[in-house]
Amino acid sequence: MTLPTVLLVDDDPTVNLLNQMVLQRVGIRLDEALQICTNAQAALRLLTGPKPPEWPGAFPPGLVLLDINMPETNGFELLDALGKQAPETAAAMQVFLLTSSVDHGDQARARRHPLVAGYLEKPLTTTKVRTLLQELGVDVPPRPRR
C-alpha cells in the first residue's frame, strides 16, 4: 500500500505548520497528498462535496488527522455530522484524533466513537507518524538523508 492522501484539520496555524513539516518528513507533501483545513465546517464542506479541482491525490483522503478542540464545531461534532451526511465517505477514511487534551474523558470518548480509528496524542512526530502508517500497512519510505 502506498502513502495515503491526508486531510489535516486543526484551528491552530502553528500546529498545522508543525504537522505539515512532520508529514513532509515521511513523504506526505502539501502539494502532493496533503490538504489542511483550519476549521471543522470547512472540512465538512470539503468531505461532503465533490472532489475539488485543486485536491491533490485520492479523494476522499485515506487518512484524516482531526483536532478535537476547535471553536464552534469540535472534532467529535464534525464526525457526527459526517456520519449522517456522508456515511460512505466516513467509512472509507481512517480517522485519527489528534489530541492535546489532558482530559481522560476525551480519550475514552475517542475510543468509543465508531468513526474513530484511533487517537494520537499531540505533538505529532515523525516517529508517531511512521508507527501509525506501519500499523495501517503502508510502506513508509526510508528517512530522507541529506
Binding site: 500546529v15 505533538p123 512526530t125 528517512r143
Partner: protein, 576 residues
C-alpha cells in the same frame, strides 16, 4: 464544549414533615396544649366564680331573713313590754296612761316600720254599754264599729300616735275573720301572734298589712285584751331593710296572698334573669310566710367577675400569638429552604462554569507546550541529521508558543484578580495612561502598524480604579493592534474621551479587520477569539466587561463601514 462533566454539588431533596401551612406536628401539639390549659383555667375560674356567687347569695339571703326576724322580735318585745306594764299597774289602761307609755316608747325613733301601738279590750256583749259609757267620759264621740254577730267584742280602745290611727279607734276587730282569728289565737295560746293579710282601716293606700298581737292578762291570768301593733307591710319592710345595702330582692307571701313584692320589672334594680334565687318558709307568729329571694342587678354588678373571660381572652391571645409565631417561623423556614436551593442552583451553575473553565484553561495551557515539544522534536531530528538550516524557524516557533503561554498565564492572573474587592479610586490622567499602554504594545506593533490618535476633552481628572482602568485600556488597544488590517494603507487607532452628563465616555475606534459577524453576540464571553490565527487567550474582552461591571460601567461595540468602535461609559467622579 462537548463535555458535560458532572457537578460534584448535588442536593438531595429535604424530607418534608410539615403540613400545608408549613407547621410541624410538634407545633400543633404545643398549640393544642396551650389551648387546653386556657380552657381548663377558664373553666376552673368560672367554677370558682360561681361558688363565690353562691356563697355570697346565701349570706345575703340569710342576712335579709335575719333582719326581718330580728325586727319582728323587737316589735314583739315592745308589745310584751306593753302587756307587762298593763299587768303591773291596773291604772295603765286609761287613755292618758297609755298615751304616756306610748310616748315613752318613742315609736318613730326606735321602731321604724310600726304604724302605732294600741290596746284592744275584750268586751262581753252585755258589758258593751258600760264600756262605752266609761270611754265616753273623756271621748264623748267614742263609738264601736262595725256591728257583728260574734259573742264577744274586741275593741281598739286606744292607739298611739292617735292622729295617725284615728280611724282605728273604736274598731271592733272581732268583726273580721283574719283579725279575730289572730286575736283568739293569742288569747288561747298566750303567745304573740300576727294576723293573716289584711288592709288597715287607717291605710289610705289600701296596701296589705297585718296586726301583731300580744295577749293582755291580769294578775290572775284572765284575758283582758291585746296589746297590738298594726303594720303596713311596705312600711315595715322599708323600715327594716331600707338602711341596709342589699344585693337581693324579695317577695313575701302569706298563703296565696302577696304581702310584699319587690320582684317586679318596674323595680329599678330588678334583674329579669337573676343569677340566683331561693325560697324560704318562715314560721311567723302563727302564720307561715313564704319568702322568695332573688339576686338583683346590684348583685350582678358586685359579683360579676371578668376574670374567667380575661383568662380566656388572654389565653386565646397567647395561642394566637403562638400560631402567628409558628406560621412566621414556618414561612422563614420555607424562605430559607428556597434561598438555600437558589444558592445551590447558582453554585451549581458557577461550579459548572468552573469545570468548563478548568477544562478549557488546562487545554489552552497544555496546547502551546505540546506544540513546543513538537518543534523541539523537529530540532532534535534536524540536529541528528546534521541539518541546521531550519533550526532558527523551529526555535522562533518555540519562542512564539512560550510567549503565548506567558500571555495566557498573565491574562489568567488578571482574571483571578478581577473578582477581588474594588480598589480605592484615584485621579487617573488618561493621556499618559494611553501613551504608556501604547508603548507596552511596541513588540506587537512591529512592522506595518497603526498610528494612535488621542482626543481628550475632559473638564478635570476623573477618579477611577487604577488597575482595572489600565487593563481595560491595554486589552482594547491590544485587540486594535492585533486585529489591524495589514492591507490598510493608513491603519489608525483613535481614542476619544469626553464627559456627557454624569458619565465619562471613552471611545476606542480603529480601521482594522473588524469584529466577525459570528462573534458579535459572544465577544464578551470567556475564550471567544476574533481569529484563531492571531495569538490571544480569548479572555481580553471578557476581562474588560468584568472590570466594567465592577466599576458600574458599560461597554458597547459596533463594527461597520470599516470602523470598529468600543464605547465605554463610566460614572464620572471628580478628583478632589
Amino acid at each position: 464544549m462537548h463535555q458535560n462533566p458532572t457537578s460534584p454539588l448535588s442536593t438531595p431533596p429535604a424530607p418534608d414533615r410539615t403540613d400545608a401551612l408549613g407547621l410541624h406536628w410538634g407545633h400543633w401539639l404545643i398549640l393544642l396544649g396551650s389551648l387546653t390549659i386556657t380552657v381548663a383555667l377558664y373553666l376552673r375560674s368560672s367554677q370558682a366564680d360561681a361558688t363565690g356567687q353562691a356563697i355570697a347569695f346565701e349570706r345575703e339571703s340569710e342576712r335579709v331573713v335575719d333582719l326581718i326576724l330580728d325586727r319582728m322580735a323587737l316589735y314583739e318585745n315592745a308589745l310584751w313590754a306593753g302587756a307587762a306594764h298593763l299587768q303591773a299597774s291596773p291604772n295603765a289602761s286609761t287613755l292618758n296612761a297609755w298615751s304616756r307609755y306610748a310616748a315613752k316608747l318613742s315609736i318613730e325613733g326606735r321602731y321604724p316600720g310600726v304604724n302605732g301601738i294600741g290596746l284592744v279590750e275584750l268586751v262581753a256583749r252585755e258589758d258593751l254599754p258600760q264600756y262605752l259609757a266609761r270611754h265616753r267620759i273623756h271621748r264623748p264621740e267614742f263609738s264601736v264599729y262595725p256591728p257583728h254577730d260574734h259573742p264577744e267584742h274586741l275593741v281598739i280602745s286606744y292607739i298611739e300616735p292617735s292622729e295617725l290611727n284615728s280611724q282605728a279607734v273604736g274598731l271592733d276587730i272581732a268583726h273580721e275573720s283574719n283579725r279575730r282569728a289572730g286575736a283568739l289565737r293569742a288569747r288561747d295560746t298566750g303567745t304573740a301572734t300576727i294576723t293573716g293579710p289584711i288592709v288597715l282601716v287607717q291605710d289610705s293606700d289600701q296596701t296589705p298589712g297585718f296586726l301583731f298581737y300580744v295577749p293582755w292578762v291580769d294578775a290572775q291570768e284572765r284575758f283582758l285584751g291585746l296589746v297590738y301593733a298594726p303594720f303596713v307591710m311596705t312600711r315595715l319592710m322599708h323600715g327594716t331593710l331600707e338602711s341596709q345595702r342589699r344585693l337581693v330582692h324579695l317577695r313575701v307571701r302569706d298563703g296565696g296572698e302577696v304581702l310584699y313584692d319587690e320582684l317586679v320589672p318596674s323595680h329599678p334594680l330588678h334583674d329579669p334573669d337573676p343569677s340566683m334565687s331561693e325560697q324560704t318558709v318562715l314560721e311567723m307568729y302563727g302564720r307561715r310566710w313564704t319568702i322568695d329571694i332573688q339576686t338583683d342587678l346590684a348583685f350582678r354588678s358586685a359579683h360579676h367577675s371578668s376574670t374567667p373571660r380575661l383568662i380566656l381572652a388572654a389565653g386565646l391571645l397567647i395561642d394566637g400569638i403562638l400560631l402567628w409565631f409558628f406560621l412566621a417561623l414556618a414561612r422563614k423556614n420555607r424562605e430559607a429552604i428556597t434561598y438555600a436551593s437558589e444558592v445551590t442552583e447558582r453554585l451549581e451553575a458557577v461550579n459548572e462554569e468552573l469545570v468548563q473553565f478548568n477544562y478549557r484553561t488546562s487545554h489552552d495551557l497544555v496546547a502551546p507546550l505540546k506544540t513546543m515539544r513538537g518543534f523541539a522534536a523537529l530540532c532534535l531530528e534536524d540536529i541528528a541529521n546534521h541539518d541546521t538550516s531550519q533550526l532558527p524557524d523551529w526555535l522562533a516557533h518555540i519562542d512564539q508558543q512560550a510567549a503565548r503561554l506567558v500571555a495566557l498565564v498573565s491574562d489568567l492572573l488578571d482574571l483571578s484578580r478581577a473578582d477581588r474587592p474594588n480598589e480605592r479610586p484615584e485621579p487617573i490622567a488618561l493621556a499618559p495612561l494611553l501613551d504608556a499602554a501604547w508603548a507596552g504594545l511596541a513588540t506587537a506593533r512591529s512592522g506595518h502598524s497603526p498610528e494612535l490618535k488621542t482626543e481628550i476633552d475632559l473638564p478635570g481628572t476623573p477618579m477611577l480604579e487604577p488597575t482595572r482602568t489600565q487593563q481595560i485600556v491595554e486589552n482594547i488597544l491590544s485587540n486594535a493592534v492585533r486585529y489591524h488590517d495589514p492591507d490598510q494603507p493608513h491603519p489608525w487607532v483613535r481614542v476619544r474621551a469626553h464627559k456627557h452628563q454624569d458619565q465619562l465616555v471613552l471611545i476606542f475606534e480603529d480601521n482594522g479587520l473588524g469584529i466577525p459577524e459570528k462573534i458579535r453576540e459572544t465577544m464578551f464571553e470567556m475564550f471567544v477569539r476574533g481569529n484563531s490565527s492571531q495569538p490571544g487567550s480569548g479572555l481580553g474582552l471578557y476581562l474588560v466587561a468584568k472590570h466594567l461591571q465592577r466599576m458600574s460601567g458599560r461597554i458597547e461595540a459596533t463594527s461597520r463601514e470599516g470602523v470598529t468602535r468600543f464605547t465605554i461609559t463610566l460614572p464620572w467622579r471628580d478628583a478632589p
